[in-house]
Symmetry: C2
Subunit: 329 residues, 2 copies
C-alpha cells in the first residue's frame, strides 16, 4: 500500500467533510481551505506525540488516535476557542493496516464528537510519531489568555464526578509497575492516562468569565507558574481543597496520603483546565461548568507576585513541595 492509497483509505472522508460548512477544500490538494467565522480570530496549536516518549510503543492504536487529537483540542479549550479542523503529520515505521484502521477510528471518533474534521496532512516513513495542528476560532476579545489573572481572583481546576487531577499520573505509575490498583481504579487511571477528555465545551462556556486559563499537561504547580509569570502574580493554593477533590473521586483514595498530594500537584497528562475568575463570578463559573457537563473546583486564589506560589495546609501553614513539572529535556 502506497502513501496515496493509505491516505485515501484511512484519512480522506469527502462525504463527511461536505457536511462541515467551514471546510471549503479538504485532503487532496496542496493546501486545505478553511472558512473561519467572520469577525473571529483563529486559534492554532501544535502537539506531537513521539513513541517511547509520550506513549508506550504497545499502546492500543485506537486510544493513541484519540489522545493525539485530545491533547490538541485541550489547547483550543484552554483558549476558549471552538474547533474548526486539524491536520495530521503521521510518521510510520511501516504500513500496518490493522494498526492504521484502529488509529484512524480513534482519531475520527473524537474529531466527529467535536465537529473538528481532518482537513489535510502528510504521511511519511520514519520512527512512529503523530503531529497534529488544530485550528479553532474565538471572538478576538474573548480568548482566554494566560496573562489576565488579577489579584484576588479565585483559582479553579476542572474535573467531573469521576475525573480529577493526579489520576493520569497514577495510570503512568501503574503502567510502569510502580503501583497496584483494584480493577475499577486501574481502569479509571488508564482511561485518564490514555483517553483524556478535552474540556472543549467548558473552555467556550468560560468566555467572558475566566480571567486566565491553560490546560494542565505537565503538572498543576508547574503549569500554574505559567499563569503567574504571564500575569505578574502569585498564588496561594489550599491543600485541603485539593485533597478533598482527590478523595471524592476513584483511584487516589487507594494511594498513601503523601503520594496523593504529590500526584495531584505534580502529575502530568491531566488535560483539565486551570483557570482564574473574579470572586463575583463564582455562581456563573459553577453554572458554566454544569452546562458543560463537568465540575469546577476552587483550589486557591491569586496573590501578590511577591508571595510566589504557596500551598497551605488545613491549619494555614505553608507546605514544602518539591517543585517542577514534567520537562522534555
Amino acid at each position: 500500500m502506497g502513501e496515496f492509497e493509505l491516505i485515501a483509505s484511512y484519512f480522506t472522508r469527502p462525504e463527511l467533510l461536505a457536511r462541515y460548512p467551514q471546510v471549503q477544500l479538504g485532503v487532496g490538494d496542496d493546501c486545505a481551505l478553511l472558512r473561519p467565522p467572520a469577525g473571529e480570530v483563529l486559534a492554532i496549536s501544535t502537539d506531537t506525540l513521539v513513541s517511547g516518549v509520550h506513549f508506550f510503543a504497545d499502546v492500543a492504536p485506537r486510544t493513541l488516535g484519540h489522545k493525539a487529537l485530545a491533547v490538541n483540542l485541550s489547547d483550543l479549550a484552554a483558549m476558549g476557542a471552538a474547533p474548526l479542523g486539524f491536520t495530521l503529520a503521521l510518521t510510520l515505521p511501516q504500513v500496518d493496516e490493522v494498526w492504521l484502521a484502529e488509529f484512524a477510528a480513534g482519531l475520527h471518533a473524537l474529531a466527529d464528537a467535536h465537529a473538528c474534521p481532518l482537513i489535510g496532512g502528510d504521511t511519511t516513513r520514519g520512527p512512529l510519531a503523530i503531529g497534529i495542528t488544530v485550528l479553532g476560532s474565538v471572538p478576538p476579545h474573548l480568548a482566554l489568555r494566560r496573562s489576565g489573572a488579577q489579584l484576588g481572583d479565585d483559582i479553579y481546576i476542572s474535573g467531573s464526578a469521576q475525573d480529577c487531577l493526579g489520576q493520569a499520573r497514577a495510570g503512568l505509575a501503574l503502567r510502569q509497575g510502580e503501583l497496584a490498583l483494584g480493577q475499577l481504579d486501574a481502569q479509571q487511571a488508564l482511561q485518564r492516562l490514555e483517553c483524556p477528555s478535552p474540556r472543549v465545551a467548558l473552555g467556550q462556556a468560560l468566555r467572558g468569565l475566566a480571567s486566565s486559563a491553560l490546560d494542565v499537561s505537565d503538572g498543576l504547580l508547574g503549569d500554574l507558574q505559567h499563569i503567574l509569570r504571564a500575569s505578574g502574580a502569585g498564588a496561594v493554593l489550599d491543600a485541603p481543597a485539593l485533597l478533598a477533590m482527590a478523595e471524592s473521586r476513584p483511584v487516589l483514595p487507594a494511594l498513601p496520603q503523601a503520594q496523593r498530594l504529590d500526584f495531584v500537584c505534580h502529575g502530568g497528562d491531566d488535560y483539565e483546565l486551570l483557570f482564574t475568575a473574579a470572586p463575583a463570578q463564582a455562581a456563573a463559573v459553577a453554572q458554566a461548568a454544569l452546562a458543560a457537563g463537568c465540575t469546577a473546583t476552587r483550589i486557591g486564589r491569586i496573590a501578590l507576585a511577591a508571595q510566589g506560589l504557596q500551598v497551605l495546609d488545613a491549619l494555614g501553614q505553608v507546605l514544602s513541595l518539591a517543585g517542577g513539572s514534567f520537562v522534555h529535556f
Copy 2:
C-alpha cells in the same frame, strides 16, 4: 537547557511578531491567535522532514531550517495563497545549541523574507524530525486548485535563469556519490536540493490566470498525474521543450542525454510550480512570471482524459518513460 529556555532562546521573537498585523498572539500561550484578512479563506498545509528519509543527517542545520519552511511555503504558492505564519513541531535527540542557533537562523531568514513568522509550536525529545504547518490566505474564488485544468490549456513549469527541474535530483545523485560534477554545477545542484526557493510571488501572480496548479515535489510526471486525475484530463508533453529548458541552465548539460530527460521527468525536490492556463492567457502568464522574478516554460497541453499522459519527441513520436515518482512506502 530546558524546553522553555530553548523555545525562549531560539523560537520566540516578540518584538518582531509585534510588527506583523496578522499576529494577535504568538509563541507562549496555549494557542497562537491569527487574524486572517477579512473575506479571504485560510490555506493550510503540513509537511514533515525526517532525518535519514528527507535529508542527510549531516546536512548543514542552516539549510535544513530553510528547507523545512521552504517546502511548506511551496504548498501555499501552489494554492496562490499569501503566507500568514507557521507553527513548528521540532523533535530533537538532544539539545545542541550550535545546531539550534544555525537551524533557527535559516528558518527565520526565510520566514522574514516571506513575512511569514513563527507563531507557535512544540519541542520534544526523539529522533530528529521537523514538522511545519503553514497558514496563508487567498480570496475564496482565486485559490489555485488541482482540479481546474481544461482541454486545450497550456501546461507550464516555473524556473529561473539558473534553476530548472532535475537539478535537485542531480544534487541527490551527487550526494550519494553516483555522479561527478564540476564545482559550479555541483554548487548549483546542492543549492537546489538543500535550499529550494518557493515560488510564493508567482503563485499569487497566477491568481485568476492559472486554471490549476501544484508544486513539483515528487517528480514532474507523477505530480502532473495528480492534476490530470483531479481534472479528469489527459496531457501531451513536449520532450524537446523540456530538454531545451534543461540545456539552457547549469548542471543538466553535464549529464548523459538519457539521464537528463529522466531527471527532468522523474526527479523530486524541485519545488517549482506546475500549472495550466488557457492559451489566451499566454502573454499574461509570461508577464506574471516576469513580475515574480522567474520564468514560466510551456511544456505541453491538456488533452482528453482518454489520451492519458504522453510525452512526444521532436518527431511527434510517443516516448516510453518508466512512470512513477518518489513514494514514501
